[in-house]
C-alpha cells in the first residue's frame, strides 16, 4: 500500500541534512502552502471541466469538445482568459470593501481546504478540535459574500447578499449538528483520529440509522452552504442577474468562481471523511482476503474516489431539481432539517451508550 508518508519523510530528511531545524521547518511550511495552493487551483480546473461535462450529459448535449481531446483543456483556456481580463472599476462602489470581499471568500475556502486529510501523510492542519476548526473557518466566507453585495452599489447584489446571509447562517446549524452526531460516535474531534477509527468499518455503517440520517442531512445542508443547485437563490440568474457577484469582473470574479467550486469539493471531502472513512479502504470484519485486496489500493485513490462520488451526487441534485423559493428554503431548514438533526444527535447518543 503506497502512501505519501514515504515522500514527505524523504523531503523532511533531505532538508534536515542541509539546513538547521528552524530553516528546514520554514522551507517545509512554505512548501506545504505552495502545494495546497497548487492543488486548490488544479482541482478547481478539474471540477469546472467535470461540472460542464456532467451538466451536458444530463441535458443530452456533448459539452466542451474543441480544446484538446474531449475538451479537457477547455477550463485551462478559460483560466488564461479570466487572468487576462480587465478588472472593471465600479462607479460609486466602496473600492476597499469591494476588494476585501473576494479575498475573504477565497481565504475562508483555502483555510478549510488545508484541514482535509487527503492521505495519512498529506494532512496540513490537524488540530485537536479539527471538526470545530472546519466549521469556524468556513463561517468566515459569509462575511465576504455580505460585503461583496453591499459594496457593489447595486440593488441585485444587495438582495443576493441578504438572501445568502440568511441561507448560510441557517444551514450552518444543521451542517454542524449533523457533524456533531458523528463526533458523538467517534468520541473525538480530531480528523485524523476520526479517520483512524473507521479502519474496521466506516461510520455510515457503524452508526446504524442515525449515521445515515446525519449523512443525508449533511449532504442537503452542505449543498445549500455552497449556494448551488436548487438552493442557488443568492445568485438566481433569472431574477438577480448573478446575485452578489454581479459587478465583479476578471480575476476578482474568478475568486468567487473558484471558491464556489472548491466549496463543493470541500463539502464532499468532509462528507467522505466523516461518514465514508476518508482515505481508509473498505474493510469488512472477518473477510481477510478481501481486506488485503482493498489495502492494495492507495489511500489517495480511496479519498478522491469517495469525494468525487459525493461531488457527483451534488451535481446530480443540481441539474435535476428546480430552484426553491426563499420561504421554502428557510422553512426546510428551520422546520425540518434542524429539528431532525437535534433528535438525531439524541438517538446517536443512545446508540453509543
Amino acid at each position: 500500500m503506497f502512501d505519501f508518508s514515504i515522500v514527505t519523510a524523504w523531503i523532511d530528511h533531505f532538508l534536515r541534512t542541509y539546513l538547521d531545524e528552524g530553516w528546514a521547518l520554514l522551507v517545509e511550511f512554505v512548501l506545504v502552502g505552495l502545494v495546497i495552493l497548487t492543488v486548490y487551483a488544479v482541482l478547481a480546473l478539474l471540477l469546472i471541466y467535470i461540472e460542464r461535462k456532467i451538466c451536458a450529459f444530463f441535458q443530452c448535449r456533448i459539452g466542451p469538445n474543441r480544446v484538446g481531446p474531449w475538451g479537457v483543456f477547455q477550463s485551462v483556456a478559460d483560466m488564461v482568459k479570466i487572468l487576462l481580463k480587465e478588472i472593471i472599476k465600479i462607479d460609486r462602489a466602496d473600492p476597499l470593501l469591494f476588494r476585501i470581499a473576494s479575498f475573504l471568500v477565497i481565504i475562508a475556502s483555502i483555510c478549510t481546504f488545508g484541514a482535509i486529510p487527503f492521505d495519512p501523510a498529506l494532512h496540513a492542519v490537524n488540530f485537536n478540535m479539527g471538526v470545530f476548526y472546519l466549521l469556524a473557518v468556513s463561517s468566515l466566507g459569509v462575511i465576504g459574500i455580505l460585503l461583496a453585495g453591499w459594496s457593489s452599489n447595486n440593488k441585485y447584489t444587495m438582495i443576493g447578499a441578504m438572501r445568502s446571509g440568511a441561507q448560510l447562517i441557517s444551514y450552518e446549524l444543521s451542517c454542524g449538528l449533523s457533524l456533531m452526531s458523528i463526533v458523538v460516535l467517534a468520541g473525538s474531534m480530531q480528523l485524523s483520529e476520526i479517520v483512524n477509527q473507521q479502519a474496521e468499518m466506516w461510520f455510515i455503517f457503524k452508526g446504524h440509522i442515525p449515521a445515515c440520517i446525519a449523512f443525508l442531512i449533511y449532504l442537503i445542508a452542505g449543498h445549500a452552504e455552497t449556494n448551488r443547485g436548487p438552493f442557488d437563490l443568492p445568485e438566481a440568474e433569472s431574477e438577480l442577474t448573478a446575485g452578489y457577484h454581479t459587478e465583479y469582473s476578471g480575476i476578482q470574479f474568478g475568486f468567487f468562481y473558484l471558491a464556489e467550486y472548491l466549496n463543493m469539493f470541500i463539502i464532499a471531502a468532509i462528507a467522505s471523511t466523516m461518514f465514508l472513512g476518508g482515505w481508509m479502504p473498505l474493510h469488512i470484519v472477518g473477510w481477510e482476503a478481501f481486506n488485503g485486496v482493498m489495502d492494495m489500493i492507495p489511500p489517495v485513490v480511496w479519498f478522491f474516489g469517495k469525494t468525487f462520488f459525493c461531488v457527483f451526487l451534488a451535481l446530480w441534485i443540481r441539474w435535476s431539481f428546480p430552484r426553491l423559493r426563499i420561504d421554502q428554503l428557510l422553512s426546510l431548514e428551520w422546520k425540518v432539517l434542524m429539528p431532525l438533526a437535534l433528535i438525531n444527535i439524541l438517538f446517536m447518543a443512545l446508540c453509543v451508550m
Binding site: G22, R92, D94, L96, L97, I100, F127, N128, M129, F132, Y133, L135, A136, V137, S139, L140, V142, I143, L146, L147, W150, S151, N153, M158, A161, M162, G165, I169, S188, M189, Q190
Partner: protein, 170 residues
C-alpha cells in the same frame, strides 16, 4: 524568537485595525476592521496553543457577531451615510474613559502573579485536549463549570424571549 516575531505582527495588526475601526468614517468599514481585530485575537490564541479558544473566537465573534453587526447595518443605515463627527466634550469623555480602561487593565496585568512566570521550565505550551475542556465545562466537581454554563443558558433564553416580545409588538 519566531514566536516573538509572530506576536509582533499580530499585535501591530490588532492595534492598527482597532484604531482604524474607531476612526473609520463609514460604519460598514468600521465593522470590517473590527473583524480583522477579532481574527488577530484568534491568532494570539493560536500562538498560545489554545486552539479551542481560537476556533471559538473565529466562529462566535468573527462568524457570528460581526455577521449580526453587518446585518444590523444593512437593515438600518442608508448607503453612503457617513458617521457624524463628535463634538469636543464627547471626545474628551472618550479619551478619559479609554485612559481609565488602560490604567485598570495595566494595573491588573502588572499586579497579577502569573502561574508560570517564576518557573519558565514548566511546559505551558502543550495543546489542551478537547476532552479536558468538555469535562471541565460539563462536570459538577470542584473547578468544573456546569452551573455557570446552565445559568448562562437561562440568560440566553431571556434574550430570545425579549427579542420575540419586541418583534411581535401587538
Amino acid at each position: 524568537m519566531v514566536n516573538f516575531i509572530i506576536f509582533c505582527c499580530l499585535a501591530v495588526m490588532i492595534v492598527v485595525m482597532s484604531i482604524l475601526a474607531v476612526t473609520a468614517k463609514k460604519i460598514l468599514r468600521a465593522a470590517t476592521y473590527l473583524l480583522f481585530v477579532l481574527i488577530g485575537t484568534a491568532g494570539l490564541y493560536l500562538l498560545l496553543n489554545y486552539h479551542f479558544l481560537a476556533a471559538v473566537q473565529v466562529s462566535v465573534y468573527a462568524g457570528g457577531i460581526v455577521v449580526l453587526f453587518i446585518f444590523a447595518i444593512f437593515l438600518t443605515s442608508n448607503k453612503g451615510e457617513m458617521v457624524e463627527t463628535h463634538n469636543i466634550r464627547r471626545i474628551i469623555y472618550g479619551v478619559l474613559t479609554s485612559v481609565a480602561g488602560i490604567a485598570l487593565a495595566g494595573f491588573v496585568l502588572l499586579k497579577h502573579r502569573f502561574l508560570y512566570s517564576g518557573n519558565a521550565t514548566v511546559e505551558g505550551d502543550t495543546e489542551i485536549n478537547m476532552k479536558m475542556i468538555g469535562t471541565a465545562l460539563m462536570g459538577t466537581e470542584k473547578y468544573q463549570y456546569l452551573l455557570p454554563f446552565e445559568v448562562l443558558s437561562v440568560l440566553l433564553l431571556a434574550c430570545i424571549i425579549g427579542g420575540i416580545l419586541i418583534a411581535r409588538k401587538k
